[in-house]
C-alpha cells in the first residue's frame, strides 16, 4: 500500500511510544548534587538530652537521616514504615526535626523568643513521637532550618542514606514508599554492610 499519508502513522506511533516511556519515569526525581559527596557538617542539640550531635558521631556506621516535623502530613503517612524499619534494627535512624515551630504557619512563631521556641518545639516533637511511635535512635532540632538549607531540603519528609565514611549515597524526596524501600534503600544498605564486613 503506497499512501503518502502513512508517515502520519509513524509520527503518531513514535509519539505514543515516547509518552508510554514517559509514564514509567518520575519527572520529580531530580538527581541531588549531594549524592556521593560528604554529608555537610553541623552541630545541633538532641531532642532527648540537649547534648550536641554532629554527623561525625556516626562515623563508621551506615545510617539514615530522616527529615520530619509534626506539622508535616506526609511524614505521618511515612511514619509506620520507619517504625517497622527501626524494629528490624538494620541501621540507626536519626531524625532531623525541621522547623518544628516556624514551619507551622497556622501559628505566629514570630512572637516567640528563641528559648521559648525551643521549648515549644521539643514539646510538640515529643508529643508527636509519643503518639505515633518513635523510630529514631535519636532526634535533633533544626529550629531555623539552616541545616536543612545545607542539605538542600525542599520538601519534608526527606531521607538521606549516609555511609560509614560519611558520604551521602541516596536521597529520597518526599515519603519513603514500600517500593523505594525494597528496591533502592535495602539493596544499598545490604551492599554497604557487605563492604564494611570485607
Amino acid at each position: 500500500m503506497n499512501n503518502r499519508y502513512l508517515w502520519l502513522f509513524v509520527a503518531f506511533a513514535l509519539l505514543i511510544v515516547l509518552l508510554a516511556v514517559g509514564l514509567t519515569r518520575d519527572p520529580r526525581e531530580i538527581p541531588s548534587p549531594l549524592i556521593d559527596k560528604p554529608a555537610p557538617e553541623f552541630v545541633l542539640p538532641r531532642l532527648d538530652n540537649d547534648q550536641p550531635f554532629t554527623p561525625k558521631d556516626m562515623a563508621g556506621r551506615v545510617w539514615l537521616l530522616n527529615v520530619w516535623a509534626s506539622w508535616c502530613a506526609s511524614c505521618r503517612d511515612e511514619h509506620p514504615l520507619l517504625v517497622d524499619l527501626a524494629q528490624k534494627k538494620l541501621l540507626p535512624i536519626v531524625g532531623l526535626n525541621y522547623k518544628e515551630v516556624r514551619g507551622d504557619l497556622s501559628l505566629d512563631a514570630t512572637k516567640l523568643a528563641l528559648e521559648a521556641e525551643k521549648r515549644e518545639a521539643a514539646a510538640r516533637a515529643n508529643l508527636w513521637l509519643a503518639t505515633h511511635g518513635n523510630p529514631y535512635t535519636l532526634s535533633i532540632l533544626d529550629l531555623d532550618g539552616k541545616v536543612g538549607i545545607d542539605y538542600g531540603v525542599y520538601g519534608v519528609p526527606e531521607t538521606y542514606l549516609i555511609d560509614e565514611t560519611g558520604i551521602i549515597r541516596f536521597k529520597q524526596i518526599g515519603p519513603i514508599t514500600p517500593e523505594t524501600l525494597e528496591k533502592k534503600l535495602l539493596p544499598l544498605i545490604a551492599q554497604r554492610d557487605q563492604k564494611t564486613e570485607d
Binding site: 499519508y5 502513522f9 503518531f12 519527572p27 497556622s106 512563631a109 514570630t110
Partner: protein, 657 residues
C-alpha cells in the same frame, strides 16, 4: 443518598453514550432512519444524565458532605460559598466531570443547532461526540470516581488549595474547558465527513461557527489564566511557558490555523485534506494536553495528584481517538480532489503560509514541551526547557505571520498582485514605520525588538482599518459611509476585530517586555522607593483576619506627578488549612500601565511591623495583553453570529455565484 444518585446517573450515562454512538454511526452507514433518529434523543438523554450527576456533586459540596472523599479533600465548612461551587472543579475528579458536562453540553447544542444538516451527517456528528463522551465516562468511572465515599466520614474537610481560592478559579477552568471541549465538535464534523466521504464546501461551512465558538472560548480561557497567574503568583509575569500553559496554547495555535483553513475550504474548495487533518489535530492536541496535565509525565505548577492508572488509560484513549481518526484519514484522503487552482500570490497562498507558520509554531511548542520527556526517555539526563528556547523560536516565526495579517484581507482569491497591495498600503506602511521609529522613544529608549513589535501592531491596526473603510466605501449605497460601515456583515466585523485584538496584544507584549521596570528593595515603614515618575511609600504591615485565613496586610501609598495618591494593600496570607503562605499582589491597573506591589519576607520574622523586602513593578501597557485577547475572542463570537450560518436557505443563496 444524593452522591449515590449522582454516581448512578453517571453509570447510566455510559450505556446511553455507547448505544447512541454505535447505533447512530451504524445507522448512518446503513441508512436506517430509526437508528439515525435515535442519535437526537440519545444525545439529549446523555447530557441530562451527566448534568444530574454534576448537580449531585455540587450539592455534596454545598452540604459539606465530608463522607464523600473528593469533597473532604477539596472543601471545608469554613470555605466561602462561591469556592464550594467552584471547588467542584478544583481537583482532578471534579474537573473531569466538568469536562464531561461540557462535552455532552456541546453535543446537545450540536443536536439543536444542526437542523439544516442532512440526517445521516447529523447522526454521524452526534454519534462521534457520544463515543468520545463514552471514553471520558469510562475514564471517570474506572479511575477517577468523584463520588467515592469516605467511611467513616471526616469531621472536617482538608479545604481547597489556597492558591485556587480566587475568582480566577471560578471563571478560568470553565472557559478553558469550553474551548478545549468545543473543538470536539469540529473534530466530530471532520470524522463524520471522512466517514461519509463528502468533504465539501458545505461541510466546511457547518464546521466554521463551531470552530469559532470553541476558539473564542479557548482564547478567553487562556487569557484569564494568564491574568490570574499575573496577579496571583506574585512574580509579575503573564506567561511562563509552563508545560500546562503550552498544553492549552497548542490547540489554540492549531485552532487558529483551522479557522483560516476552513475559510479556504468553504470559499474555494481547496485544502480539504489539510483542513480535516487540522480539525483532527486540534482536538487531538486538546486530548494530549489532558494527558500531559493528568498523567504526571511532566512537572508543572498545575499538576494534579497523579496515579499511573490514569496515565495508562488516557494514553489508550489517545490511541483509540487519534489512531482511529488518522486511520480514517489515511484511507479517505488520497481520494479527495484538490479544489480550485490559485496563483502564487493570492488569498489562498497567503492563508497557506499562515497555516504553515502556525503549524510550525505548534510543532515548536510541542517539541519544547516534550523535549524533557524525550531526553529522559533516552536516558541522557534530566533537563527542563524554559522561556529562552520558546522566545528564541517564537519571534522569528511570529514576525512574518503578523506582517501577513495586514496583507491577507487585501489579497483577492485565485490571484492577487503584491505590488498593488503594497501600493494601496503605502501610507499605512509608512505610518507604521514612523510609529516604530518614534513610539519606543516615549518609553525612554529605542530598542529593536520593541520597535519591531510596535511596527507590526501599528501595521495590523492601520491595514485592518484601511481595508474596512475601503470595503465600506466600495459597497456604499445611498446612506453614506457610516451607514455602510454598520451594514458590513458580522463576519467581516469579527475578522477585523480579532485582527485588531491581535495588534493590541502584540503592542502590549512588546512594550511591557522591553520597558517594564522592577525594584526589589528593603523597606521600613515610612520609606519611599521610586520608579520613573511613580513613588511608592511603605506605610507598614498590619495583621488582619480573613474568613479562613490570617493575613499580614501591607499598606503602600502610590503617588505620581499631579495625581491624587492611592493606597495599595499587598498581602501575605496564611490559610488555616495550609502550610504555604500565599502572596496577594496589589495592583493599580490602568490603560497605560500597571503599578504592581508584592510583599516579600519580613527581615526579622519576629517583627512583622518592621522592615520588609518589597517588590514593586511598573508595567507599561500590560493590560493590553488581556484586552487584546478579549477583542480577539469578541471578534470570533461576532463572526459566528453572522446570519450566513443561521439557516439553510441563507447558506444556499450565498453559495450561488
Amino acid at each position: 443518598m444524593i452522591p449515590e444518585l449522582g454516581l448512578f446517573s453517571l453509570i447510566l450515562a455510559l450505556p446511553v453514550a455507547l448505544c447512541t454512538g454505535i447505533l447512530a454511526l451504524w445507522g448512518a452507514q446503513r441508512g436506517q432512519p430509526a437508528w439515525i433518529a435515535l442519535a437526537r434523543s440519545g444525545t439529549v438523554a446523555l447530557a441530562l444524565l451527566v448534568g444530574v450527576s454534576y448537580l449531585c456533586l455540587t450539592w455534596s459540596f454545598l452540604q459539606n458532605d465530608f463522607s464523600v472523599l473528593y469533597v473532604a479533600r477539596q472543601s471545608s465548612s469554613s470555605l466561602p460559598l462561591i469556592y464550594r461551587v467552584a471547588g467542584v472543579w478544583g481537583g482532578h475528579e471534579g474537573s473531569l466531570l466538568l469536562w464531561l458536562v461540557m462535552l455532552t453540553g456541546w453535543a446537545a447544542l450540536a443536536r439543536f443547532y444542526s437542523r439544516a444538516l442532512p440526517d445521516a451527517l447529523r447522526a454521524r456528528v452526534l454519534g462521534v461526540l457520544c463515543l468520545v463522551a463514552a471514553g471520558f465516562l469510562l475514564f471517570i468511572l474506572f479511575t477517577s470516581n468523584p463520588f467515592l465515599r469516605l467511611i467513616p466520614g471526616a469531621a472536617e474537610g482538608r479545604e481547597l488549595n489556597p492558591m485556587l481560592q480566587d475568582p480566577g478559579l471560578v471563571i478560568h477552568p470553565p472557559l478553558l474547558y469550553m474551548g478545549y471541549v468545543g473543538f470536539s465538535v469540529a473534530y466530530a464534523f471532520a470524522v463524520a465527513a471522512l466517514l461519509s466521504g463528502q468533504l465539501d464546501a458545505a461541510w466546511a461551512r457547518w464546521s466554521r461557527p463551531w470552530t469559532l465558538a470553541a476558539w473564542a472560548f479557548l482564547t478567553l480561557g487562556i487569557a484569564v489564566g494568564s491574568w490570574w497567574a499575573y496577579y496571583e503568583l506574585g512574580w509579575g509575569g503573564w506567561w511562563f511557558w509552563d508545560p500546562v500553559e503550552n498544553a492549552s496554547f497548542m490547540p489554540w495555535l492549531a485552532g487558529t490555523a483551522l479557522i483560516h483553513s476552513l475559510a479556504v475550504t468553504e470559499k474555494r474548495g481547496s485544502f480539504k485534506n489539510w483542513t480535516v487533518l487540522l480539525a483532527v489535530s486540534t482536538f487531538s492536541l486538546s486530548l494530549l494536553g489532558t494527558f500531559l496535565v493528568r498523567s504526571g509525565v511532566l512537572t508543572s505548577v498545575h499538576a494534579f495528584a497523579n496515579d499511573p492508572a490514569r496515565g495508562i488509560f488516557i494514553l489508550a484513549f489517545l490511541v483509540a481517538v487519534i489512531g482511529a481518526s488518522l486511520l480514517l484519514f489515511v484511507w479517505r484522503a488520497p481520494k479527495v480532489g484538490l479544489g480550485g487552482r490559485f496563483a502564487l500570490v493570492s488569498r489562498e497562498s497567503l492563508l497557506l503560509v499562515n497555516n504553515l507558520l502556525l503549524a510550525v509554531a505548534t510543532g515548536a511548542v510541542l517539541l519544547g514541551t516534550l523535549y524533557p520527556l524525550i531526553v529522559d526517555a533516552l536516558g541522557i539526563g534530566k533537563i527542563s526547557v524554559g522561556p529562552p528556547y520558546f522566545n528564541a523560536v517564537f519571534v522569528p516565526i511570529m514576525a512574518p505571520l503578523l506582517f501577513l495579517v495586514g496583507i491577507g484581507p487585501f489579497a483577492r482569491w485565485k490571484a492577487a498582485s503584491l505590488g498593488e497591495i503594497l501600493r494601496v498600503n503605502k501610507w499605512t506602511l509608512g505610518l507604521a514605520a514612523l510609529a516604530a521609529l518614534t513610539l519606543p522613544l516615549v518609553y525612554g529608549g529605542w530598542r529593536p525588538l520593541a520597535a519591531l513589535g510596535v511596527f507590526l501592531a501599528a501595521w495590523i491596526f492601520l491595514a485592518a482599518t484601511l481595508h474596512f473603510v475601503r470595503q465600506a466605501r466600495a459597497t456604499q449605497g445611498g446612506g453614506g459611509l457610516l451607514a455602510s460601515v454598520l451594514k458590513q456583515s458580522l463576519h467581516f466585523w469579527g475578522m477585523h476585530l480579532a485582527h485588531v485584538g491581535l495588534a493590541v496584544f502584540v503592542a502590549g507584549v512588546s512594550i511591557v517586555g522591553a520597558y517594564e521596570a522592577e525594584k526589589s528593595v528593603k523597606m521600613a515603614p515610612g520609606d519611599t522607593v521610586g520608579i520613573h515618575a511613580y513613588r511608592f511609600r511603605f506605610l507598614g504591615v498590619q495583621s488582619v483576619e480573613g474568613p479562613n485565613y490570617q493575613a499580614l496586610r501591607g499598606e503602600m501609598e502610590l503617588s505620581e506627578n499631579g495625581r491624587a495618591p492611592r493606597r495599595l494593600f499587598p498581602e501575605k496570607r496564611f490559610y488555616h488549612h495550609s502550610a504555604m503562605p500565599m502572596t496577594e499582589a496589589a495592583i493599580d491597573a490602568g490603560l497605560w500601565r500597571d503599578a504592581y506591589v508584592a510583599l516579600g519576607e519580613p527581615l526579622d520574622r519576629e517583627r512583622p511591623d518592621g522592615e520588609w523586602v518589597v517588590r514593586v513593578y511598573v508595567k507599561p501597557l500590560v493590560d493590553w495583553i488581556w484586552g487584546g485577547a478579549f477583542l480577539m475572542a469578541l471578534g470570533g463570537l461576532l463572526a459566528l453570529l453572522d446570519r450566513r450560518y443561521r439557516s439553510r436557505r441563507a447558506a444556499t443563496q450565498e453559495n450561488t455565484p
